[in-house]
């Protein structure tokens, strides 16, 4: 049997009605091991204006580099209650903020390990199909060899690496257009 996937449609301006119930801005609970980090920033459009009707979702591994998913067959510990999922709406000015733990390294293509990263999906009014990207961690030596980051044109790699704002606080903006346009993925 062969079917074609359904067509994507925008979340529209009233996305909060259906999606707020699952808002999760604390991705790792108190029993979850790992280095705590707060990531904050803005989702901005082609005019540099904040997107007030947007939403980002995060998917990540735990500190050992294990995903809470049946297809992750690695023999690594997984904390009970760790889902690795975040859903964070933007505020009226396009701002977002969430806290989590820095994930460990997960397997990549050809047996290499990937650098620690968060997988990010972006939704908003005016976007007909979600955008996907990643957040890497500033100063991590594994970034230089990461098999996915290496495929991003060198001048755009910085768009996936937040700036260190304070101890444990990273600033990362999602920029839809212009000079600092975030690199988005197709996989």
């Amino acid at each position: 049997m062969s079917l074609y996937a359904s067509g994507s449609q925008t979340v529209g301006p009233y996305l909060h009605i259906g999606l707020t119930w699952l808002n999760t801005s604390k991705i790792a609970g108190p029993g979850v091991k790992g280095e705590r980090v707060t990531i904050q920033g803005r989702l901005v459009d082609g005019d540099g204006a904040g997107v007030g009707d947007g939403l980002i979702e995060i998917w990540q591994a735990n500190a050992e580099g294990r995903y809470a998913h049946p297809e992750d067959l690695q023999k690594k510990t997984l904390e009970i209650g760790f889902r690795g999922f975040g859903r964070i709406p933007t505020d009226a000015k396009g701002g977002f903020k969430f806290t989590t733990i820095k994930p460990g390294r997960v397997p990549g293509p050809d047996g290499q390990l990937q650098a620690p990263h968060l997988n990010v999906t972006v939704f908003m009014r005016g976007l007909l199909k979600q955008l996907s990207t990643r957040v890497y961690f500033p100063g991590d030596p594994a970034n230089a060899q990461d098999p996915v980051l290496k495929l991003v044109p060198a001048v755009r790699r910085a768009t996936l690496i937040p700036r260190r704002k304070a101890k444990g606080v990273l600033e990362w903006n999602i920029v839809l257009q212009g000079k600092d346009e975030t690199a988005f993925f197709d996989f």
């Binding site: 062969s2 079917l3 074609y4 996937a5 359904s6 067509g7 994507s8 449609q9 925008t10 979340v11 529209g12 301006p13 009233y14 996305l15 909060h16 009605i17 259906g18 999606l19 082609g46 005019d47 009707d53 998917w59 591994a61 995903y67 809470a68 998913h69 049946p70 297809e71 992750d72 067959l73 690695q74 889902r83 999922f85 997960v106 397997p107 990549g108 293509p109 050809d110 047996g111 997988n119 999906t121 009014r125 005016g126 007909l128 199909k129 955008l131 098999p147 996915v148 495929l151 044109p153 755009r156 839809l176 257009q177 212009g178 346009e181 975030t182 988005f184 993925f185 197709d186 996989f187």
Partner: protein, 248 residues
């Protein structure tokens, strides 16, 4: 982890998902939908391999839901105004395999075409007995079911005399980060469809028509509610593993 014969199964055996078939998905830059102008990426997307990060995704269970979550007519003290409907269908992948135990979230306007949202200023009544949000998990065969009210059409400011056709927003996860899907369900025979930028953003006509639900005589409940059927197809694997039967 190594399987028999020393093959490394955690690192090298990514059972990849197919790419979308051409014409089934909207372009990011779609001038008919004016808001895409400042909200689409202008640089080409970076094509990257599917890794463990993309083929895994969040898992939800019955603990995440309340029993009334799939009945949008029973979330308040009174009955909502409007025509009661039953919306059901299956979530499948491109190989026709059911997607069991996957989360389906819906939201919609009330019968008058109004959302209970601070940004909705349309001069139509809010219904105190209708919030317009629901969720369900599919069963082992990928089936879901909602009870709701037929949503009204409503005006918006995309172009002169712009009206959205009646629709229900659907959000789905599937089994992976890359199977995440948000779409909209439309109703058969809606005269607004050819004028709607959202609906018309799907380039291929056959793919577009699949966003229209079908009247569902068999699930219609006599003297109670009309039913509509809406199946949703998520990305499927390149090769279906032969050692597993569907739904296992």
């Amino acid at each position: 982890m190594r399987a028999k014969g020393g093959r490394d199964i955690t690192m090298n055996r990514i059972n990849a998902y197919r790419r979308f078939h051409p014409g089934t998905q909207p372009a990011y830059d779609f001038p008919f939908y004016a808001s895409t102008a400042k909200r689409h990426p202008t640089q080409p997307l970076v094509i990257v391999p599917q890794t463990l990060s993309e083929i895994t995704g969040p898992v939800f269970g019955t603990d995440d839901l309340k029993p009334t979550d799939n009945d949008l007519t029973r979330q308040h003290k009174g009955d909502p105004i409007g025509e009661r409907i039953i919306v059901s269908g299956r979530v499948l992948d491109e190989n026709g395999r059911p997607m069991p135990h996957t989360l389906v979230e819906v939201w919609q306007a009330n019968a008058a075409g109004r959302y209970p949202h601070k940004n909705d200023t349309h001069n139509a009544p809010v219904d105190p007995n209708f919030s317009g949000a629901g969720r369900a998990l599919t069963d082992a065969e990928g089936r879901y079911r909602f009870i709701s009210i037929r949503p009204g059409e409503y005006p918006w400011r995309n172009h002169y005399n712009a009206w959205r056709p009646a629709h229900i927003h659907f959000s789905l996860f599937g089994q992976a980060f890359l199977t995440r899907m948000v779409t909209q369900m439309y109703f058969p025979g809606d005269p607004l469809l050819p004028y709607d930028p959202m609906y018309m953003s799907i380039p291929d006509e056959k793919a577009r028509v699949r966003l229209i639900s079908q009247f569902d005589w068999e699930n219609t409940v006599p003297e109670h509610a009309l039913a509509y059927r809406f199946d949703i197809v998520l990305r499927g694997r390149e090769a279906t593993p032969m050692d597993k039967s569907p739904g296992e």
